[in-house]
Amino acid sequence: MPEAPSDRAEPTTGASNEEDLALIERVAAGDRRAFEALYHKHYHALLRFISRMTGEPESAEEGVNDVMLVVWDSSSKFGRRSKVTTWLMGIAYRKALRILEKKRRWFERFKSRPQPESIEPPHAEAGHTDTHELEDWLEHGMRRLSAKQRAVVELTYYYGHSYEEIAAIVDCPVNTVKTRMLHARAKLRQSLPMLESPGSKR
């Protein structure tokens, strides 16, 4: 399992955002090479985020393209009110929510396949699980979260955003971000007992 960056990671580089801003300006002028560079630079981050939020890796690539289509259409309107990554992740977040909404309407209309029941895994004993099993438990735990809770978890632990940045991305108050994280962690602790604090009740 790859090591996560240390607790006190370096601050998000301003240089990277300046590079993004320069690309956005060129995209706004119709520069397709700049658009391709921007696409390649953010592709995997967007792909993972949409995939993790929706639980549909096969739809994530189209989701990324929908996000970048918005960038192509709206780059001239990007007002530098936020970092470029915050803007991109905000578009991706809303796109992922729309994918989930369409999925929900599909099931409601056609009921072609019953909605999968949430999976309640048996308890994983601390110290007796290997890496793959832990990842499976994490996957089960993440599926028990709402999409909005999953978004906060991913944006925090994988993308390293501050809670203020997350509030900007998902367009909600900071306290809502903290609340969603609290609930998400509580649910994940139920799926991953090795994450429970000693003495906490189950």
Binding site: L47, R52, E58, W106, V153, E154, E165, M194, G199
Partner: protein, 214 residues
């Protein structure tokens, strides 16, 4: 701030302490509290474990090159559709007559049982009619038949691509009626149907003749 409040405050901040995004002030608050609280110290270790798990979770594999190609096809397709719409603005009547003529020919082909073979797979049994398009007032509708073996995920992907919603089907022969977004110009709908004709996921795509006729 009471001890209980500080405890809760630090607990709230922990995820952002471990990802290194807290302010200096908040960092000091967390570190000072954890130094003297065994429960929160242990909780912090679990928080780090969770972050490692999330960070190490398998990433989806896909190629940005392939994705970008498809994106630019979409961008080009929209540009051509807009140009086509502008050109046809002065010949809308001519387009409508051509579309009605194509629809009539399509009905004849259906009646004659003509089949257009595509590819070499005999089991595909494809049937492709001529496309035609009359933009209905409001939301236009088209009929499609998906190719054999197309998964539900691929069907959903296609619907997202064309911004369509299934409003009827499948019929006995597997025909679905799809309602598109309002506001499509005739040329845009014609371009869309032309593109769908070439789509490997479909055996058939054409103007809707109404739901549930089979």
């Amino acid at each position: 701030m009471s001890a209980g409040d500080r405890h809760q405050h630090v607990t709230e901040l922990m995820p952002w302490y471990v990802n290194g995004s807290l302010s200096e002030t908040e960092t000091v608050v967390v570190e000072q509290h954890v130094h003297g609280c065994l429960t929160c110290y242990a909780r912090l270790q679990h928080e780090r474990k969770l972050r490692s798990l999330v960070y190490g979770a398998e990433r989806p594999r896909a190629s940005p090159e392939h994705g970008f190609e498809r994106l630019m096809e979409n961008v080009e397709g929209r540009r051509r559709a807009r140009q086509g719409a502008r050109v046809s603005a002065g010949s809308a009547r001519g387009l409508r007559m051509a579309a009605l003529g194509a629809a009539a020919a399509f009905i004849v082909l259906i009646a004659a049982g003509l089949v257009l073979v595509r590819g070499t797979a005999p089991e595909a049994g494809p049937f492709r009619g001529l496309t035609s398009a009359d933009v209905e007032a409001g939301r236009p509708r088209i009929d499609v038949v998906f190719a054999a073996g197309v998964s539900e995920g691929e069907m959903r992907t296609l619907l997202r691509e064309i911004d369509g919603t299934i409003v009827a089907g499948p019929s006995r022969v597997g025909r679905y009626t799809i309602e598109l977004e309002a506001g499509l110009e005739p040329a845009e709908l014609a371009a869309l149907l032309a593109r769908l004709e070439r789509d490997e996921r479909l055996r058939f795509a054409g103007r809707s003749f109404g739901a549930g006729e089979e």
